[in-house]
Amino acid sequence: AAVLPMPAMADAVADAIAAFTGGVTPSEGGVTVDAPEIAENGNTVPIGVEAEGAESIMLLATGNPTPAVATFTFGPLAARQAGATRIRLAKTQDVIAVAKMPDGSFKQASATVKVTIGGCGG
Protein backbone atom coordinates (compact mmCIF):
# COMPACT_ATOMS: atom_id res chain seq x y z
CA ALA A 1 0.00 0.00 0.00
CA ALA A 2 1.14 3.51 -0.77
CA VAL A 3 2.23 5.47 2.26
CA LEU A 4 1.13 9.08 2.33
CA PRO A 5 3.67 11.59 3.55
CA MET A 6 2.96 12.93 7.04
CA PRO A 7 1.99 16.51 6.06
CA ALA A 8 -0.76 15.15 3.76
CA MET A 9 -2.17 13.15 6.67
CA ALA A 10 -2.09 16.12 9.02
CA ASP A 11 -3.90 18.17 6.39
CA ALA A 12 -6.57 15.51 5.94
CA VAL A 13 -7.25 15.54 9.70
CA ALA A 14 -7.31 19.36 9.85
CA ASP A 15 -9.61 19.44 6.80
CA ALA A 16 -11.99 16.92 8.36
CA ILE A 17 -12.16 18.94 11.60
CA ALA A 18 -12.63 22.22 9.69
CA ALA A 19 -15.42 20.67 7.59
CA PHE A 20 -17.19 19.56 10.79
CA THR A 21 -16.73 22.81 12.75
CA GLY A 22 -17.11 25.23 9.84
CA GLY A 23 -13.68 26.62 10.62
CA VAL A 24 -14.21 27.14 14.37
CA THR A 25 -11.23 25.97 16.43
CA PRO A 26 -12.36 23.46 19.08
CA SER A 27 -11.37 23.99 22.71
CA GLU A 28 -9.58 21.17 24.55
CA GLY A 29 -11.50 19.05 27.03
CA GLY A 30 -15.17 18.44 27.74
CA VAL A 31 -15.07 15.27 25.66
CA THR A 32 -14.15 11.81 26.87
CA VAL A 33 -12.44 9.34 24.54
CA ASP A 34 -12.43 5.87 26.05
CA ALA A 35 -9.83 3.81 24.20
CA PRO A 36 -7.41 1.03 25.12
CA GLU A 37 -3.78 2.05 25.64
CA ILE A 38 -2.65 -0.95 23.60
CA ALA A 39 -4.73 -2.69 20.93
CA GLU A 40 -3.28 -6.05 19.89
CA ASN A 41 -5.62 -6.31 16.91
CA GLY A 42 -6.13 -3.14 14.89
CA ASN A 43 -9.09 -4.71 13.08
CA THR A 44 -11.40 -4.23 16.01
CA VAL A 45 -10.52 -1.64 18.63
CA PRO A 46 -13.24 -0.75 21.17
CA ILE A 47 -13.77 3.02 21.37
CA GLY A 48 -16.23 5.00 23.46
CA VAL A 49 -16.95 8.72 23.22
CA GLU A 50 -18.95 11.00 25.48
CA ALA A 51 -19.58 14.75 25.56
CA GLU A 52 -22.30 15.89 27.95
CA GLY A 53 -24.87 18.05 26.20
CA ALA A 54 -23.33 17.68 22.74
CA GLU A 55 -25.45 17.70 19.59
CA SER A 56 -23.03 15.45 17.76
CA ILE A 57 -19.57 13.92 18.07
CA MET A 58 -17.21 13.21 15.19
CA LEU A 59 -14.56 10.52 15.60
CA LEU A 60 -11.29 10.60 13.62
CA ALA A 61 -8.35 8.21 13.36
CA THR A 62 -5.33 10.35 12.51
CA GLY A 63 -3.14 7.50 11.23
CA ASN A 64 -5.61 5.72 8.94
CA PRO A 65 -5.59 6.02 5.12
CA THR A 66 -8.67 8.23 5.52
CA PRO A 67 -9.19 9.80 8.97
CA ALA A 68 -13.01 9.74 9.11
CA VAL A 69 -14.44 7.02 11.36
CA ALA A 70 -17.99 7.95 12.36
CA THR A 71 -20.22 10.84 13.39
CA PHE A 72 -22.73 10.30 16.20
CA THR A 73 -25.74 12.63 16.31
CA PHE A 74 -27.92 12.51 19.43
CA GLY A 75 -31.70 12.85 19.47
CA PRO A 76 -34.01 13.96 22.30
CA LEU A 77 -34.26 10.40 23.64
CA ALA A 78 -30.52 9.84 24.04
CA ALA A 79 -30.01 9.41 27.79
CA ARG A 80 -26.36 10.41 27.51
CA GLN A 81 -24.48 12.01 24.64
CA ALA A 82 -22.30 8.94 24.40
CA GLY A 83 -21.72 5.98 22.16
CA ALA A 84 -19.41 3.00 21.90
CA THR A 85 -18.33 1.06 18.84
CA ARG A 86 -15.42 -0.91 17.40
CA ILE A 87 -13.09 0.59 14.83
CA ARG A 88 -10.15 -0.25 12.56
CA LEU A 89 -6.77 1.34 13.21
CA ALA A 90 -4.02 0.93 10.62
CA LYS A 91 -1.17 1.60 13.07
CA THR A 92 -0.30 3.27 16.37
CA GLN A 93 -1.96 6.67 16.31
CA ASP A 94 -4.13 9.29 18.00
CA VAL A 95 -7.90 8.98 17.94
CA ILE A 96 -9.63 12.37 18.06
CA ALA A 97 -13.21 13.17 19.08
CA VAL A 98 -14.71 16.58 18.25
CA ALA A 99 -18.05 17.50 19.86
CA LYS A 100 -20.50 20.07 18.53
CA MET A 101 -22.25 21.91 21.36
CA PRO A 102 -25.74 23.49 21.11
CA ASP A 103 -24.24 27.01 21.50
CA GLY A 104 -22.18 26.57 18.33
CA SER A 105 -18.88 25.94 20.10
CA PHE A 106 -16.76 22.82 19.65
CA LYS A 107 -14.79 20.67 22.07
CA GLN A 108 -12.02 18.24 21.31
CA ALA A 109 -10.09 15.44 23.00
CA SER A 110 -7.77 12.70 21.84
CA ALA A 111 -6.31 9.39 22.99
CA THR A 112 -3.23 7.52 21.77
CA VAL A 113 -3.71 3.86 20.91
CA LYS A 114 -0.69 1.60 20.39
CA VAL A 115 -1.56 -0.93 17.68
CA THR A 116 0.33 -4.24 17.47
CA ILE A 117 -1.22 -5.57 14.23
CA GLY A 118 -2.67 -3.01 11.80
CA GLY A 119 -6.27 -3.27 10.74
CA CYS A 120 -6.41 -2.10 7.14
CA GLY A 121 -5.40 -5.28 5.36
CA GLY A 122 -2.26 -3.69 3.95
Binding site: T73, F74, G75, A79, I87, R88
Partner: protein, 109 residues
Protein backbone atom coordinates in the same frame (compact mmCIF):
# COMPACT_ATOMS: atom_id res chain seq x y z
CA UNK B 1 -22.69 -8.36 0.39
CA UNK B 2 -26.38 -8.07 0.95
CA UNK B 3 -26.69 -11.78 1.75
CA UNK B 4 -26.44 -13.17 5.29
CA UNK B 5 -26.76 -9.77 6.90
CA UNK B 6 -28.35 -10.33 10.30
CA UNK B 7 -29.10 -7.56 12.78
CA UNK B 8 -29.05 -8.38 16.48
CA UNK B 9 -30.30 -5.97 19.13
CA UNK B 10 -30.43 -6.21 22.91
CA UNK B 11 -33.10 -4.12 24.62
CA UNK B 12 -34.70 -4.79 28.05
CA UNK B 13 -38.32 -6.01 27.82
CA UNK B 14 -39.59 -3.60 30.45
CA UNK B 15 -38.58 -0.37 32.19
CA UNK B 16 -40.06 2.26 34.47
CA UNK B 17 -41.17 5.58 32.98
CA UNK B 18 -38.22 7.88 32.30
CA UNK B 19 -35.69 5.16 33.01
CA UNK B 20 -32.34 5.07 31.21
CA UNK B 21 -31.64 1.80 29.45
CA UNK B 22 -28.56 0.57 27.62
CA UNK B 23 -29.03 -0.70 24.07
CA UNK B 24 -26.52 -2.92 22.28
CA UNK B 25 -26.67 -3.56 18.54
CA UNK B 26 -24.64 -5.78 16.25
CA UNK B 27 -25.12 -6.49 12.56
CA UNK B 28 -23.19 -9.12 10.62
CA UNK B 29 -21.54 -7.44 7.65
CA UNK B 30 -18.12 -7.73 6.01
CA UNK B 31 -17.63 -3.91 5.94
CA UNK B 32 -15.22 -4.13 2.98
CA UNK B 33 -13.15 -0.98 3.45
CA UNK B 34 -12.05 -0.41 -0.13
CA UNK B 35 -8.42 -0.34 1.08
CA UNK B 36 -7.71 -4.05 0.56
CA UNK B 37 -6.41 -5.75 -2.58
CA UNK B 38 -7.21 -9.25 -3.86
CA UNK B 39 -4.55 -11.87 -4.66
CA UNK B 40 -4.05 -10.33 -8.14
CA UNK B 41 -3.37 -6.92 -6.65
CA UNK B 42 -6.67 -5.41 -7.76
CA UNK B 43 -8.41 -3.18 -5.23
CA UNK B 44 -11.52 -4.75 -3.67
CA UNK B 45 -14.35 -2.20 -3.98
CA UNK B 46 -15.74 -0.59 -0.84
CA UNK B 47 -18.97 -2.11 0.46
CA UNK B 48 -20.03 -1.01 3.92
CA UNK B 49 -23.04 -0.08 5.98
CA UNK B 50 -22.86 3.71 5.95
CA UNK B 51 -25.66 4.81 8.27
CA UNK B 52 -27.32 3.56 11.47
CA UNK B 53 -30.29 5.07 13.27
CA UNK B 54 -32.29 4.21 16.37
CA UNK B 55 -35.69 5.78 17.04
CA UNK B 56 -38.31 5.25 19.76
CA UNK B 57 -41.96 5.83 18.76
CA UNK B 58 -40.62 7.91 15.88
CA UNK B 59 -38.30 10.12 17.97
CA UNK B 60 -34.56 9.94 17.42
CA UNK B 61 -32.28 8.35 20.00
CA UNK B 62 -29.07 8.23 17.98
CA UNK B 63 -27.95 8.59 14.37
CA UNK B 64 -24.52 7.41 13.27
CA UNK B 65 -22.84 8.14 9.94
CA UNK B 66 -20.32 5.38 9.40
CA UNK B 67 -17.07 5.31 7.43
CA UNK B 68 -14.95 2.34 6.31
CA UNK B 69 -12.95 2.55 9.58
CA UNK B 70 -15.85 0.90 11.43
CA UNK B 71 -14.97 -2.75 12.07
CA UNK B 72 -16.50 -5.84 10.48
CA UNK B 73 -19.87 -6.66 12.08
CA UNK B 74 -20.59 -3.08 13.25
CA UNK B 75 -21.37 -2.82 16.95
CA UNK B 76 -22.95 0.10 18.76
CA UNK B 77 -23.78 0.62 22.40
CA UNK B 78 -25.67 3.67 23.72
CA UNK B 79 -28.18 4.78 26.36
CA UNK B 80 -31.78 5.76 25.73
CA UNK B 81 -34.53 7.27 27.86
CA UNK B 82 -37.83 5.39 27.85
CA UNK B 83 -40.72 7.83 28.49
CA UNK B 84 -43.57 5.35 27.77
CA UNK B 85 -44.33 1.93 26.34
CA UNK B 86 -43.48 1.67 22.69
CA UNK B 87 -41.21 0.42 19.96
CA UNK B 88 -37.56 0.92 19.25
CA UNK B 89 -36.80 0.84 15.55
CA UNK B 90 -33.28 0.22 14.28
CA UNK B 91 -32.24 0.90 10.69
CA UNK B 92 -28.99 0.18 8.87
CA UNK B 93 -28.29 1.47 5.33
CA UNK B 94 -25.95 -0.44 3.05
CA UNK B 95 -23.75 1.05 0.28
CA UNK B 96 -25.59 -1.26 -2.16
CA UNK B 97 -28.90 0.46 -1.38
CA UNK B 98 -30.24 -2.24 0.93
CA UNK B 99 -31.88 -1.27 4.21
CA UNK B 100 -31.96 -3.60 7.20
CA UNK B 101 -34.36 -3.01 10.08
CA UNK B 102 -35.18 -4.51 13.44
CA UNK B 103 -37.75 -3.51 16.04
CA UNK B 104 -38.01 -4.14 19.79
CA UNK B 105 -41.03 -3.55 22.01
CA UNK B 106 -40.59 -2.25 25.53
CA UNK B 107 -43.27 -2.06 28.21
CA UNK B 108 -43.42 0.64 30.85
CA UNK B 109 -45.36 -0.55 33.83
Amino acid sequence: MASDVKPRVKVPKSASAGETITIKTLISHAMESGQRKDSDGNPIPRSIINHFTCTFNGETVIDVVMEPAISTNPYFEFDAVVPESGTFEFTWQDDDGSTYTDTKEITVG
